[in-house]
């Protein structure tokens, strides 16, 4: 059992700030050259905080671009990254969707942009509250995606994200995903990133290839059928490298700051668990509380926390679930037409062709910001236990709550 450790001697350094502020502060300590910004709830606080920092000269030399749309927010970072700048933006939902085309482009050109995605539901109906449909829907864009459980992790992941992204064998953009409102707007005690530690952890960005009049290179060439596959293949190879890099960087971060949030995955009462719940993001906090209750009653319930959704840590998941008797994935997104969340689909596919024959079920919860309370998790655990006891699955994937009056 590990998860979200803060060195006890550092507890005195904790301050109570908004999650968005903690992230903005972490961005500052990464010394970005270019930040692009566009407002959208619930992301806006991050770029507002950053604008204040830039206005006060707290991020020396940083150019803050108030773009006219998210499509330009990401595109400006493509340009900035191409000349060797460290870049940052933050967005959510409709803004992320507007970026969609350029997300693939940024990854294809191997620009190590870091972006916080404050997770929010997508329109229609328009809804500003939290679920994770927005970033999940960018799954195949070639971005590394890390999901944070709490505000400390969301902030700490910014620094880690740069280190992963800028590794010369990775060179891929990273999304740090944090749940809208639940993490972005909550005031919680956190340790703000220390500038000295940040500098020790994250070296300046020195890319091998840049646009430079003294040494002209062409970026973004036409790739015809004779070479296109190889470009895509090399992104996949970089994702492979990232699997190890994400683990290593989490360790390095721990060495310097004393804080650790897991590598590709993390476990909570996982080792001896018969019933394993799998999830990502802030749901894990509620789930841990409920699992504590079960453990107090001597029931072997545990949690597998997925931090990295891309690259998807297939090997780590197989190992972590090798002794599970039943698996239940709980998540805030749905692949329409498949009636299950993306994580559930991915998890089952990771276990296919293995010895693991534990039954797996999935629950779709908390769409569009509907509260997920401890009793909901309890209900899900109870239903999961029933499947284990009876050996029969009547519904592989379910919504935990559907109100008849709105149908």
């Amino acid at each position: 059992m590990s998860t979200n450790t803060v060195n006890p001697k550092d507890k005195s350094k904790m301050v109570v700030v908004e999650g968005s502020y903690a992230t903005a502060h972490a961005v500052k300590t990464a010394r970005p050259n270019v930040i692009s910004a566009y407002p959208i709830t619930p992301q806006t606080h991050i770029v507002e905080e950053l604008s204040k920092m830039v206005a006060n000269g707290e991020i020396p030399g940083c150019e803050y671009i108030n773009v006219e749309a998210e499509f330009s927010a990401i595109s400006a970072l493509v340009g900035a990254s191409a000349v060797g700048a460290r870049t940052y933006s933050a967005t959510t939902s409709q803004g992320l969707f507007l970026m969609h085309e350029a997300l693939f482009n940024a990854a294809g050109m191997r620009f190590p942009i870091v972006m916080t995605v404050v997770n929010r539901a997508v329109s229609a109906p328009i809804n500003i509250w939290n679920d994770q449909q927005d970033s999940i829907s960018q799954r195949d864009a070639g971005w590394i995606q890390i999901y944070a459980e709490d505000t400390q992790e969301a902030a700490d992941m910014v620094l880690q994200a740069y280190k992963i992204a800028e590794d010369k064998d990775v060179m891929l953009p990273v999304m740090v995903c944090m749940d809208g409102f639940i993490l972005s707007h909550v005031y919680e005690p956190v340790i703000l990133m220390d500038q000295k530690e940040a500098d020790e952890f994250l070296p300046p960005y020195k890319p091998e290839n840049i646009l430079d009049p003294k040494n002209p290179k062409s970026f973004g060439a036409l790739g015809d059928p004779s070479c296109y596959t190889e470009f895509r293949y090399s992104i996949e190879q970089a994702m492979d490298v990232a699997l190890q890099k994400i683990e290593d960087v989490a360790e390095e971060f721990k060495q310097i700051t004393g804080r650790y949030h897991g590598g590709l995955i993390d476990g909570y009462h996982l080792e001896d668990a018969d019933v394993v719940l799998v999830s990502f993001g802030s749901l894990l906090g509620t789930m841990k509380d409920v699992v504590d209750d079960y453990r107090m009653r001597g029931e072997k319930v545990g949690i597998l926390k997925i931090r990295s959704f891309r690259p998807f840590p297939v090997e780590a998941i197989r190992k972590a679930l090798s002794s599970a008797k039943i698996i239940c994935v709980i998540e805030k997104n749905i692949s329409l037409g498949r009636k299950e969340g993306a994580l559930f689909t991915e998890l089952k596919s990771a276990l296919y062709n293995t010895e693991n024959t534990a039954p797996a079920i999935g629950y779709i919860v908390g769409l569009g910001g509907r509260d997920v309370l401890p009793r909901h998790i309890e209900e899900i655990i109870e239903r999961t236990k029933t499947v284990l006891e009876t050996g029969s699955i009547d519904s592989e994937s379910s919504f935990n709550e559907v109100k008849e009056e709105f149908l």
């Binding site: 595109s75 191409a82 040494n215």
Partner: protein, 295 residues
């Protein structure tokens, strides 16, 4: 001069008489070597960059079709932050489709924010890379693959969007129209635009033999006819005021220009086609009047 020509090398896959290649060469001749080129998707990008080859001897980036303005903004901001801006000019070179239609928001943002960039629109009056579809740069009456004449149509139903004025309205310190038929004029204006600090804009008329339907040896001739008929006035604007106009002593009738191209051929055959030609002549007359072209 010959060394400067090589900033865009020959051997790309442009059509014979290609307007885009010519225009891009003139742009580089005006700007010089200390440049970073941003080139949105279109004929020029496709024909000059088949991996692993490139025709560009200057740093060059192609990202997407509709984000040239934003990519250029990001480069300029980054160079400033990195302390490497110096005299390096960031130059966007886009087609009429990417500039006037799909990328206008991105370009408008870049100009409104005041980045130190030069943006050149190579206006061949249609989406050529995808096979000559109508854009907002397509002139009245032109037949394109999506604005064909028919029993109830004379071809493209609208006049060209006045993009140069739109860019001037952003508060640009320098905008100018150019034509690939007037190389020296174009190179001079590009140079001036590049030397002006702030967002500057050049809109270059660029006849496309393949799309417009004329012999590839006639690119320059057609370009000159557009200016001589006053359908494409050449002017400069500084801080929103017209400061220079290229005079046309004896404007030629628009028929001379229209007749020389397949895309207008139907106007001479269709019943009431002459009325459409009259409308086009009216546009030329307005230009003569407005810019004082024949005075």
């Amino acid at each position: 001069m010959s060394e400067r020509f090589n900033l865009l090398t020959p051997g790309h896959s442009g059509c014979a008489g290609c307007c885009d290649a010519l225009a891009a060469k003139y742009v580089l001749m005006g700007v010089g070597e200390d440049v970073i080129v941003v080139n949105p998707t279109g004929c020029l990008e496709v024909m000059t960059s088949p991996f692993p080859n490139t025709a560009w001897n200057v740093p060059w980036i192609h990202s997407l079709f509709e984000n040239g303005g934003a990519v250029a903004s990001g480069i300029e901001a980054a160079l400033k932050s990195l302390g490497r801006k110096g005299n390096t000019k960031i130059v966007g070179i886009g087609g009429d489709g990417s500039t006037m239609d799909i990328g206008i928001g991105s370009l408008s943002g870049a100009f409104e924010r005041g980045h130190d960039i030069l943006y050149v629109c190579i206006d061949n009056e249609a989406y050529m890379n995808t096979g000559n579809q109508r854009s907002s740069g397509t002139p009245l009456g032109a037949s394109t693959s999506t604005s064909p004449p028919g029993s109830v149509s004379y071809g493209n139903p609208t006049h060209k969007k006045d993009m140069t004025r739109i860019m001037a309205a952003h508060g640009s310190p320098y905008v100018a129209t150019t034509s690939i038929g007037y190389a020296n004029d174009m190179i001079r204006k590009v140079k001036k635009a590049a030397e002006t600090v702030g967002p500057t804009y050049i809109h270059s008329h660029a006849p496309c033999p393949t799309g417009w339907g004329f012999d590839s040896s006639k690119t320059i001739e057609i370009a000159k006819l557009a200016v001589e008929t006053c359908l494409w006035p050449l002017y400069e604007m500084e801080d929103g005021e017209v400061t220079q106009v290229r005079k046309v002593k004896d404007p030629k009738p628009v028929e001379e220009y229209l007749k020389a191209q397949k895309r207008f051929r139907h106007l001479f055959k269709m019943e009431d086609g002459d009325k459409e030609i009259e409308k086009i002549q009216k546009q030329a007359d307005r230009n003569i009047e407005y810019y004082g072209l024949n005075k």
